[in-house]
Structure formats: C-alpha cells, structure tokens
Subunit: 406 residues, 2 copies
C-alpha cells in the first residue's frame, strides 16, 4: 500500500453506491454521481451536477457511464501459502477417494518454500484480487504451524502489502489445527509473542477434526491478551458450538456458519459479531450453503468473502462470490453488494472502508454496466472496468500498475 | 472468421487435451505435448520430444507450462439482440413481482435497433466469448419474430462472423414464441424461405407458455424441408414431451432438459440426440439443474453451453459454465471439459471441432494452470492465458486482435 497522497476525480458514473444507510440492503445510491478523492481519501461525493468549483488541477477518471461502488473488502482469505491441491479437487469432483493430508499437505509445501517463492505466489494472488476489484483483504497465516513459518507467513503478507496497492489485514491463525500434542501450549507461550506484533487479529478453526470449543477459547483468549482482534471459523463442517463462543468472546466475526441455527443467528446479532459467509467454499465442496436469510432475518450483519485457499476455495474473485451468493444463498443484488463492501469492513472493524462517503478510503470499483446489479447479471464475466485503491488507478485507463490475469 | 491459412506451433504445454476417445470422460491427454497448425488446421499433435523435424519457419506460441485444450464450442446462445433486462433480473433476486414481457421485451428493443447497433452489441459479446476461450458458437435468431427482423438478425450474425475470428453457426429460431394467431403459418410460408438460406439449423421453444409439441413438430418439419438441421428447446420449464419429439425427429440436439426423465434420457441416447445442458440458466433463475448424471448413465452424449441471452443467462463464459456444471450437476472435470469441447461439436454436427487431432480446426485454448482441472479449481477467475482460432492468436502473447473485457 503506497502512501495515501493521491488525488482523483471520478466522473461520468451512472450511479455511485455509497453504502450509506443502516439496513442490509441500503446502498445509498447517488444517480449520476461523482467522487472526489484527495490525500487518498474520499473528500466529496455527490451528483456530478453539484461538483464543487475551483478544484484546480485534479486527474480525472471517466467512469464511462458505469456504476461506481466501494472497493470490495474480502474479509476471509488464506492468501499466503505454497503449492496447489488441484489433483485433490479433481478427485473430489470425480467422487474418487484421494489420500490427502488436507491442510497438512499445504503446511508441508509452505514450510519447504523459500520466503522469496512465498512472496511471489502470494503477490500474484494479491494482484489477481485487485484486478477483480478487491482493495482490502484479510489474510491469515496458518499454513506454518511452527513459530518460524507462521512468522514468515505474516512477514510475507507485510511484504506483499508493501509491494502492491492492496490493503492487507493480517490475522494469526496458528490455531488452524493442533498438529501434535502440546501444540496449544507452544502456540500460547512461544508463537504468540513472536507473531502477535505482526498481526492485527487472531483466529481459530473450531470444528470436528480441528479445535474443540474449549481449545478455541484458549487460543482466542491468549490472542486477545496480546491485543489481537478475535475471529473464529465456526459451524462449517458440523455444528460444534463455535458461533456461541464467538458471541461470548465478542469476536469481530464468526466465519463459514454453514450449520448455524436460529439460536446462533440471534446470539451473533445480539453480540454484534459479523457473520462472514463463504459461498465459494460450498460451491467447490458441493456442500450446503450457510443460511444467509436466517442470519439476516435475525438481525445479524453479514459479509461475503472468498476464503481463498488451495484446498476448498481457490478463487480471489469477489464478483464470483457475489453471483453465487445471489444464486445459492438467495441474497438480493443489494444485499450481496453491501455484504461484499460495508459488510466486509464491519467484519474487519474498519468503518472507513467499504463505503464512499467523506473521510472513507479512496478505494473504488467502476463496473462495465450501469447498475450494481451488473455483477449478478453477468456471472463469470469480467465486469470490473477500473479499480482505484487509495486514489491510485490500479486497473483501467491510466493504470500505473499492470494487473495480472493469473 | 478469416481465411484459415495460418501456421502456428504451440509448444511448452504441460499437457494437451485432444478429446480423442469414446467415453464421456476421455480427454486423450498427451503429457508435455505440442500442437502444429498449418493452413488453419491441426497438422500434427504429440509429445514435444517427437516433434517432426524440418518444419521451416513457423511462428511459435509458448504455452508457458499451461494446459492446452480445444477451443470451447458453445452450442446454444441467443447472441444477437438489443437492450438488456438487468432490472428484471434484479427484481427476481429480490423476490419482487416485476411486470415484464419476457422475450417480447427483447423483441421490442431488437426490432427498434438499427442493424449497426445490433452488430456493435453482438460483436462485443462475440469478443467477450473469444476472450474466455470460445472459438465456435451457435447463435439463434428469435428476437425478431417478423420476417424482416429475423432476416436482419441472421445477417448481423454473418457480419459479426466476418469481423471476428469467432466461428458462428447460425440457427433460425423464428419459433421462439407464437406472438399472434396465424404466426406459425407466416413462419412457414414467409419467414422460412427468406431465413433458411442464412441459417444452418432451425429450432423451436417447446414448453408451457411457448410452443406445444404439435406446433414444435410443425415448425421443425418445415425447417427440415429447407435442409436445416433441427434442434429443440425441450423440458426446461415443465415436462411437455419435447425430448421425445427431438428423438423422433433425429434432432442434432435437445436443449435445457431440466425436467428430462429416465425415458427421455434413454430415447435421446438411442436416437443420437445430443443433450445440451445450460447450467448458467439454472444458476441465474435459481431453478433446478438438468439431470446430467442420469443422461450420462443412460448413454446420452452431453454438451455444455452458455445459453447467453438477456433474460435468463447473460454470460458468455464457458469456464463459468464448466465450474457450475462440476459444482451443481456433479460432473467431473473430465466430463465437463469434454462436454464443453467435443460435446458441443457433436451437438453442432461438426466433428472437425472440439478436438485436437490431425485435420481438426486449429482452435485452442492455453490455460494459466497445468491441468484441465484448473477451470473447476479456480471458479470465477480468468484462467484463459491464450486463445487461438484457425491458427491465429486472438488472445495472449502475439495476439493481433485485442480482446475486450465487456
């Protein structure tokens, strides 16, 4: 992320999605809007016809009649790892048995990779996320599971954040699995002191085959003691009680929630825990989708995220996630767009992101179509005509940094 | 489509998918393969190490370690129309009632559009299809529903085929609806004589709210008398008997088939009618998916296609269709890739397409990943690194024709 000094005037939009408003479907639309960015932040937003005069010499980006919306905030990824598991995915699609270590397979390739190789792989994924409109992305460690590699992964994320215009929010996920007896003590006594200064949040994978509720509580409470913002993988593979733990600990988010009940939904809403939903993971695993409508009905704030990881959701595309959420979770286009922007920002406790209002970050996307519905209307197509991060054009006419397709 | 005189040597592939083999999951893989195109056609394909010597000065395309597969054959689109129906889609996602004329809404905007505007819109969609790896595409008329506009739509398709490297197979779909009493007589007596010379196939929409089986039979038999290859929209919204009609008339394809029964599957397989499945339409409508596994189990040949149209599936992306078919129709990656290439070619009765074997068309795609599974493994991402049509590079390093993102 470069220093936020850039100024930019975005004009010629058919509509600007500001995400101002309290309800989960409020997009705060301004028809024929313009956005002025100064010092990397939104300085003014309103109808083009009311643009302030005397702005001086500000570079302009022509939205070409497209819809302008806040840059996507992808609130759940595992961006830093080495290697892929394409063969495992292929076997799953065939219905074949496939002997895999799952997460441990990626742990092995990640430990074996040089830091340089990890940076290169992670940077390619970061640029691909940027090209599809993501300007902020939460990224977890968790494929190290030893002090040295967990630290390296958090350093890799810092390096990639420096080298790209992507805003990266790092999370320590040493509690991705408990690979051996005594690991939780090691995590608390040795890993956290080293890793906490490099992270903003902490996370645990609370599920069958991973951590129990008691173990997750131990891991998160230790992280909280280091000032980390807690979040939790909850109720993905089975219902084990993670959602209520997340509510009890006032986590910033509870993520996955495929098996969340009415009680879970109520508890998350009451505690202000954002429900981060990951439809691409259900899509890849051919499993059930999280009960998005139940969560909304009970008053929970929802966010949509990619879960980008090599085992169960190897995509960086928020437009794809939005389309699947509309189709399979029965969100409206308004709800999905809001969950992918302001919802993600709420999950990251970054109110200055995911909206376009004076003082918020100068991060935005210009669509090829005239309305926010364009993303759901053209599934699988690249409808992101331009991307601006901190006032800098990173994709589209005038882009200084080339995007990559990989 | 330019004259097929081009020569090109594609090297550096991790694997070449030839689609040689009889079973629906046979991909005929050649590891470390190379493809030599001469006169626009595949001249040689085999392991790079066995490349013939003395080839002279042939331009090369480096596959960069990616997988090479035949260009996608999208066997069902409604590519030529004017206007969009984004607001209708948006209302459907919200669950709102929305007064729409459906197909007739697009008929009205299409009739009102100039031929120049129709060419521009259709060409943009054609280029977007090319950029995502489609090198052959079936395209139907059917948004004219009068002699003049149906003729114009088929001319538009011919113009776009001339102006782009996309191979377009035109189908007369005057029987998209029966807009007024006496229309079927008009279609047979006035429209067919004008339109048949401009088309290769004929089609009818056999369903509730559209044509009955008897009306569909009348429309197709008239088309067959003009030498057109028959195909049929069958069993999409309800089970009305279209699949058995398609079998009886030896149609090249029966399309949609959401409500196809065991008997339908058996009849299609026995008659050699290709089942063209359109998962993006089910995705957009949130409706059931066609029983792909049942069709395969009964021995039918399946094809995957986009159904690109402004009402129910506004996408040109075959990679998206492949990913949805793997997730929602439970196809393996092998079955989906074969259905999107050789399957589409079978539906179009063009055995020279959809394979990479000596004599077949020099149409291919280079993926960013090492195996054909890459498309299902990275849903929503642009994994098409290069596209070659008739031996000409149309996307990727050395491309003469720029792709468009819209």
């Amino acid at each position: 992320m470069s220093e936020p000094t850039a100024a930019l005037l975005v004009r010629g939009a058919s509509q600007v999605v500001t995400c101002v408003g309290r309800r989960p479907f409020d997009l705060g639309l301004i028809e024929g809007g313009a956005v002025l960015i100064r010092g990397g932040k939104v300085w003014w937003v309103g109808p083009d016809s009311e643009l302030p005069t005397g702005l001086g010499d500000v570079p302009e980006l022509d939205a070409g009649g497209g819809c302008v919306l806040p840059g996507f905030v992808d609130a759940h990824t595992h961006l830093a790892f080495a290697g892929d598991r394409a063969a495992e995915h292929e076997a799953r699609l065939r219905g074949d048995r496939y002997e895999t270590g799952g997460i441990m397979t990626t742990v092995a390739s990640t430990r074996a990779a040089t830091t340089e190789a990890l940076v290169a792989e992670t940077e390619a994924r970061a640029r691909s996320a940027l090209a599809s409109g993501t300007t902020t992305l939460e990224a977890k460690s968790g494929y190290g599971l030893d002090t040295e590699t967990e630290r390296r992964l958090l350093e890799v994320l810092a390096t990639v954040a420096e080298r790209t215009p992507l805003r990266i929010v790092p999370t320590f996920l040493g509690a991705h699995l408990l690979p051996e007896p005594g690991y939780l003590d090691l995590l608390i006594e040795e890993m956290l002191p080293v890793c906490a200064p490099l992270a903003e949040g902490c996370d645990a994978f609370c599920d069958i085959g991973a951590l129990s509720v008691a173990e997750s509580r131990q891991a998160l409470e230790a992280g909280i003691a280091y000032g980390l913002v807690p979040r939790l993988h909850a109720e993905e593979l089975a219902h084990t009680g993670g959602a209520l733990l997340a509510a009890e600990l006032s986590c910033a988010s509870a993520d996955h929630l495929v098996h969340a009940t009415e009680d879970d939904a109520r508890a998350l809403a009451f505690a202000g825990v954002v429900a981060v939903l990951l439809p691409a993971t259900s899509f890849c695993l051919r499993s059930a989708y999280a009960p998005a409508r139940r969560l909304l009905d009970r008053g929970a704030t929802i966010a949509l995220a990619t879960d980008c990881n090599p085992g169960t959701s190897y995509t960086t595309s928020m437009p794809f996630v939005i389309a699947v959420a509309c189709s399979e979770m029965r969100l409206s286009a308004e709800e999905a767009v809001r969950a992918a922007t302001a919802g993600g920002a709420a999950a990251l406790r970054r109110p200055e992101l995911g909206r376009l209002t004076p003082g918020s970050a100068g991060d935005l996307v210009v669509l090829a179509g005239e309305t926010y519905a364009d993303l759901a209307y053209h599934p699988g197509m690249d409808r992101v005509a331009a991307v601006v991060a901190g006032g800098e054009i990173v994709k589209g006419p005038g882009a200084a940094v080339p995007g990559t397709a990989s």
